[in-house]
């Protein structure tokens, strides 16, 4: 006879098993295999019969670090800029939106719904539209800037150095509503009494924001930052769609750089080695982040 605890635990395992199997099949086994490929010279000649791809040890990694080093480190550098500014932008817009909509006013639910549009709009559509708006000759952005007298010559937003700015803007535009709605939910959890008490003590709204709102939101902000950093680090859609699949050096962030190495140059081994390094970078990033936030707490 099984006791109730064992029964419960068996039931739980049954419930969770499909998720585990799915994750094994799609995430875990292919990722381990990818790590395995990173030690092999897998290119166009061996792809038909990939088991015969010769073992090359760390050669792919050496290539990533040394002869490709310019490309790889540069790409990593731009990826970091992309990630950091995306998080900062989302934080700014998300907190702004949440604070503005915290107090009730007529039509608040409608405004909230509108703020969520970029998140709900399919990313491919949103990004294709942004690409269109940023076109050098026909884009509305250049048109507006020109008519405001801010620029003389049209800016090429999608090629050259400005492409990095564009992909950051695109990334922020599609992601900030997620911050907004989660932060708004967090704000609604703060009791109004706290603000009342602060006001009685003579605090102005800015002080209330710094001393009450931000500290209360901190745990949520930490989670959101980590998630956004991960999703941006891995992101393929934003640079791919905004630059039309051929990014300039500055917009050639890691995911797309690896994609072209693997599927355009057919050098899967090196692509896999770069991905592994990228994964390690992300891991370090997260560990650093957790360490820093823990330190601040204690």
């Amino acid at each position: 006879m099984l006791n109730i605890e064992q029964k419960r635990s068996r039931f739980a395992v049954k419930l969770i098993l499909p998720a585990i199997l799915l994750s094994m099949f799609v995430h875990i086994i292919p990722t381990l295999w990818g790590i395995f490929i990173s030690f092999r010279k897998l290119n166009i000649y061996y792809i038909r019969d990939w088991t015969s791809a010769p073992f090359v040890g760390l050669e792919n990694y050496q290539r990533t670090m040394s002869s490709l080093s310019g490309v790889f480190w540069e790409s990593l550098f731009y990826t970091m800029i992309f990630v950091v500014f995306s998080v900062i932008g989302c934080l700014f817009l998300g907190v702004l939106g949440a604070v503005l909509l915290n107090k009730d006013f007529p039509g608040r639910n409608i405004v909230r719904g509108i703020f969520l549009i970029p998140y709900i709009l399919p990313g491919v559509v949103a990004l294709t539209n942004l690409r269109f708006m940023l076109l050098q000759d026909w884009g509305i952005v250049n048109f507006v800037l020109r008519n405001l007298g801010l620029i003389q010559e049209n800016i090429s937003w999608l090629t050259g150095p400005m492409a990095l700015v564009s992909i950051i803007i695109g990334n922020i535009w599609i992601r900030w509503p997620f911050w907004f709605i989660t932060l708004l939910a967090g704000l609604q959890g703060i009791s109004g009494d706290v603000y009342e008490a602060a006001r009685v003590d003579g605090a102005n709204p800015w002080q209330c924001f710094l001393k009450i709102t931000l500290p209360a939101l901190k745990p949520v902000i930490v989670i959101l930052s980590v998630l956004t950093a991960l999703w941006s680090f891995n992101n393929f859609n934003v640079p791919f769609i905004l630059t039309g699949g051929s990014p300039s050096k500055q917009a050639d962030i890691l995911s797309i750089n690896i994609w072209s190495r693997s599927f355009k140059n057919w050098d899967f081994g090196t692509g896999a080695a770069m991905s592994v390094v990228m994964m390690i970078c992300m891991l370090l990033l997260i560990m650093l982040y957790i360490r820093v936030t823990r330190l601040e707490e204690s």
Binding site: V26, V111, L121, N129, F132
Partner: protein, 281 residues
């Protein structure tokens, strides 16, 4: 008093700023989709067009087989939405309400898979598909099941996380009461717990639908011309009609429409789903 007016003014200004950021691109998308080509491909586009061309919405179905892509995306997105929701509801419940061996490890592993770069496991994943075809004779590349499995797995770590947070807020007493009344674990779960979790379920259903509706990278490799999805379709449009941005935008509106309709009806649930689920640290 004056100070308060000042802050109200600032708030209105801020809200208008955010509304502009959101609404202008949306307006531009919609308005471009009904413009004449010559009014689009010009250095001086009109903010409000003098004439409109609704035929754009007829033209888009002709050159690129958008109808077929629409069907493909619908089948794939609805199926993976169904499976992802099912899997996540079960797993989220198990992680939230049961204490079993390895629970923490499993939870962490799910979150960690979010860190695996898609680009790293895309090729091995493709090779596994080929391997399965060669050894078992089941074709997965270029078929619906192949993509459905893929997208279901892509969203489950996140949806499990949301559902788990959601179930955490539901008191255990509810389930215990049902067990005392003679329900089995499964009955207690389906009859008592599930109905209270509906906002959370709608949230994750919506999220998983959007993921498959949107995905580009894996679709480029795992689909063929018969199973190509809408997300790739809009990209194809830019190649076919190098200059017809009005058609690209019309296709964009068509792709966005079902999701927007969904959302408008379900907004209430979506927001409360986030409020109680996703926020939890």
């Amino acid at each position: 008093m004056k100070k308060r007016h000042f802050y109200t003014f600032l708030r209105i200004l801020g809200i208008c700023f955010l509304l502009l950021i959101v609404l202008f691109p949306v307006y531009w998308l919609v308005i471009t989709s009904v413009k004449f080509p010559t009014d689009v491909h010009t250095p001086d586009p009109k903010l409000i067009p003098e004439r409109i061309r609704l035929e754009n919405y007829l033209d888009i179905w002709k050159t690129v087989p958008l109808g077929r892509y629409f069907k493909n995306s619908t089948i794939i997105a609805l199926s993976s939405m169904f499976f992802a929701t099912l899997v996540a509801v079960f797993a989220g419940y198990a992680l939230s309400k049961f204490r079993f061996k390895g629970r923490k490890t499993v939870g962490m592993t799910f979150l960690a898979t979010q860190m695996f770069p898609g680009i790293l496991f895309l090729l091995p994943y493709y090779l596994i598909f080929i391997l399965i075809k060669n050894s078992l004779g089941i074709t997965l590349v270029g078929t619906y099941p192949g993509l459905i499995i893929t997208y279901t797995a892509f969203v489950t770590p996140f949806t499990i996380w949301v559902m788990r947070g959601y179930f955490d807020t539901i008191p255990t007493e509810l389930e215990e009461a049902a067990l005392i009344d003679g329900c089995t674990f499964f009955q207690a779960f389906v009859k008592v717990i599930l109905p209270t979790a509906i906002p959370g379920i709608i949230t994750i259903a919506m999220l998983s639908f959007m993921k498959s509706w949107n995905e580009v990278l894996f679709a480029t490799v795992l689909t063929d011309s018969d199973t190509r999805t809408l997300a790739l379709g809009i990209y194809e449009f830019q190649q076919e009609f190098k200059t017809s941005w009005n058609l690209v935008m019309a296709a964009g509106v068509v792709i966005a429409a079902p999701v927007m309709v969904f959302f408008t009806f379900l907004q209430k649930y979506l927001v409360s789903g986030f409020t109680s689920g996703a926020v939890k640290g």
